[in-house]
Amino acid sequence: MVTALDVAAGTPDPELPMLTVADLGILRAVDVTAGGVTVTITPTYSGCPAMPEIRADVRHRLEVAGFGQVTVRTKLAPPWSSDWITAEGHRKLAAAGIAPPSPAARRTGPIPLTLGLPASPPCPQCGSPRTQRTAAFSATACKSLHRCQDCGEPFEAVKAL
């Protein structure tokens, strides 16, 4: 039997459709009561333009699957972290040529300034560790741009957040 969680979790992300909202960790909860289904999602970045589409997609998929009275809630706290991307999400990112994020920094106290070039992840195309970040921002806020010094290919990486 297909549960509401299965249906909601299968919703593709509009920006990274090779991943589902569950893979990305933006699906926070699916609660089923006699009154209906309540889905809770959280944005990756404040300016994420895809939230209304994700909300509509989740609702639509649940309704098509026969679940009535669907409510989609947004939850801002705690803020999304790239650490919430699942192992399956990491695998799908790498398969799509996007380097998965490194673990986000855990800290107490003031956020330190980073003045040098940060570590660059291994090339998702050829596996070489000799890569360099070329830009801190890419086509979406959640990614940075890199280049592999061995195979010469440019690639994107999901930023640690």
């Binding site: 593709p12 404040s46 639509h60 409510t71 947004t74 939850k75 070329t134």
Partner: protein, 283 residues
């Protein structure tokens, strides 16, 4: 269906009422969030404070958007567009927080207020005359805003606290980006050094307003905390800290009181004219 092209998944059904393309019909960015004001908190003061922080982000974002298509390299183009988008996202949530208390939508607040009703600091409306001013201004603004957003998660309003906790992660990237460019320009050629130093001289008088006492504020930024970061960057860049008095207000009233520089009218004309000419437009 085939999943060879994952983008096909987005178009797998197109029933009535189902859409995936972006457009108008933006929903409240705080939809589904408990926006009741906690007991004991002055709702009016909270609305004013959220409006001020939202206006900073809205106007600053617009200034950055004006650079798009004019940046020296594609990588900087995407950086500035992304920073502008982050700030616009923060602005939308903060204006929605204020508007929920004031009984107005975020669009009404953004597009149908007059200049004297905007509460942004004058630093946010400054027109960058070159890339050095862009980098220097972003360094000052993001260093101050990050210091504030690091404090605000302890604020008594859970919505503002959550917006700040999220925004702080974004501002960390903005500050690093700006700091790295200030260093590259300051520690670059004689010409880039001169222009970076000139930019700081121009911008410094606008920084003082960030630290004016605000009776509505729900967190406090120590000027020394901001100075420590700025001094580190300037020292690394080989730049001098300008010795400039803060830009005076009018009868001591500044941006937070709705008294702006000449630049503000031009920003609003561009930001608001479309919405005012076609109030019900959709696309």
């Amino acid at each position: 269906m085939s999943t060879d092209n994952p983008y096909d998944l987005l178009g797998e059904d197109h029933d009535d009422g189902h859409r995936w393309a972006f457009g108008t019909g933006f929903t409240d960015p705080l939809e589904g969030i408990d926006t009741s004001v906690p007991d004991g908190l002055d709702a009016g003061a909270l609305a004013r404070y959220c409006l001020a922080l939202g206006d900073d982000a809205l106007i600053y974002s617009h200034r950055l958007q004006q650079w798009v298509t004019r940046m020296p390299e594609l990588e900087e183009e995407t950086a500035i567009a992304n920073i502008a988008l982050d700030l616009l996202g923060q602005a939308r949530m903060l204006l929605a927080r204020a508007g929920g208390i004031l009984g107005q939508t975020e669009d009404e607040l953004a597009f149908f207020r007059a200049e004297q009703d905007f509460r942004n600091v004058r630093l946010a409306e400054h027109e960058d005359r070159d890339f050095a001013e862009l980098a220097g201004r972003l360094l000052i603004f993001s260093t101050w805003r990050l210091a504030l957003f690091e404090q605000l998660p302890a604020a008594p309003d859970p919505v503002l606290a959550a917006i700040a906790a999220k925004g702080a992660k974004e501002l960390t990237y903005h500050r690093d980006y700006a700091a790295q460019w200030v260093i590259r320009l300051g520690d670059g050629t004689a010409l880039s050094h001169e222009r970076m130093q000139n930019a700081l001289t121009t911008l410094w008088p606008l920084a003082g307003e960030l630290f004016r006492p605000d009776p509505d504020a729900l967190a406090h930024v120590e000027p020394a905390a901001v100075d420590a970061v700025l001094d580190t960057v300037l020292a690394t860049a080989g730049l001098d800290r300008p010795d400039a008095a803060p830009l005076a207000g009018v009868s001591d009233r500044t941006g937070r009181d709705g008294v702006h520089t000449e630049a503000m009218g031009y920003v609003l004309a561009e930001l608001q004219s479309q919405a005012r000419a076609y109030p019900d437009a959709t696309w």
